[in-house]
Assembly symmetry: C2
Homo-oligomer: 209 residues x 2
Amino acid sequence: METEVSVETRVLDAADALFYAQGVQAVGMDRIRDASGVPLKRLYRCFPSKGALVEAYLRRRDKIARGSMEEHADSLSSPDEKILGIFEWLHTVVSEPGFRGCAFNNAFGELGSHSAAVTAIVQGHKAALRRFFSGLVHDAKAPDPEGLTTQLLVLFDGAITVAAITDTPAPALRARDAAAALLAAGGREEPAQHGSGVPVRADGSRPGG
Amino acid sequence: METEVSVETRVLDAADALFYAQGVQAVGMDRIRDASGVPLKRLYRCFPSKGALVEAYLRRRDKIARGSMEEHADSLSSPDEKILGIFEWLHTVVSEPGFRGCAFNNAFGELGSHSAAVTAIVQGHKAALRRFFSGLVHDAKAPDPEGLTTQLLVLFDGAITVAAITDTPAPALRARDAAAALLAAGGREEPAQHGSGVPVRADGSRPGG
DNA sequence: CATGGAAGAGAACGGCCGTTCTCGGGTTGC
DNA sequence: GCAACCCGAGAACGGCCGTTCTCTTCCATG
């Protein structure tokens, strides 16, 4: 007769579903109480404020997403396979019903300017993602590993965003194709005939600026 | 002594700055009244509800961004130059102080699940962006133009997101480099030695599923 | 069985937000 | 001069939200 799952887990399950589906500010604590079945009094004993619950929601998402991604990568052997496999893993994620974009990007847009804690968690999540990609890129012995890592991050976040707004999973696979092309090209193609005529240095500044 | 700029413009200027910097739901109508100097009564005569003001805010952002982007592209000659030039235009945009990501993505994450109008405007903005890229890609006579168009969109949105969260403009230039590589490769590199072992068709389905 | 404490259900409270109303002052037309 | 009207400033109103309080019920212990 003891509790099947812990109270914290039930609250976080409810908060996760509601916060992700509807946005944080659109969901009141009453709704989380109704969905979890945990009365407000106990809920506030586990999480002393809504802000603390939001942070726990993001931290759990971070841990679960990183675990799932690393598990998928571990099932593949070569660095190149792992890198491309991540985009196929992403394809299954964005195909799930109810997918509505990256929970971290959404939270950052909604709360980042008001909550330093949320900003730190989101930046930490993306930094971990970068470390993960960076390790694979170094293993793949690509030239300009930092540039390629940034490009993979860009493809990853861009695929999530385009898939969410167009409501189709295909962008994840187009991002995989792009990653494959970048791996084949060495991650830093600088074609002579494709410049726009405005030279830009690697740090973004322009000569004479 | 007549008004320097129209009341609608003053209201939209204030709403734009506040909505973008702090999120829509975090900004009350009183704050827009204070920032614009337009009393609530007149404000509600111009925009009959906060929702209408939010939609006008997004529509004006859409018009301005598209105009600025097309103007920049018009200053370049070849399709390839235009495509890469857009990422340099993006680099200047994400370098501006106060840049906090794509207003449309942020609004979609915050309000998309509750407002069909916001969702439609965001999707319309991205669809216009796709048409814009698509025209340039077709002009560039790339093979698989649809795939390359999606990849450019992914790079574009991803660069915005990564630049916002890491608070550095460099991802826009790394996205430009990636776009250059994809243009050089034809937009659909399918390297024999880079597959992850799981075949995936172009539409995202797997054989036998 | 009596009693103390913990805990659930729901009300309550202060505060904010979107929207509307009131009131007072100024302006226009006769 | 006067009346009718418009408009700005701010209060007011209903509703929601985060948080706390109250009251009742339940259970464990002596």
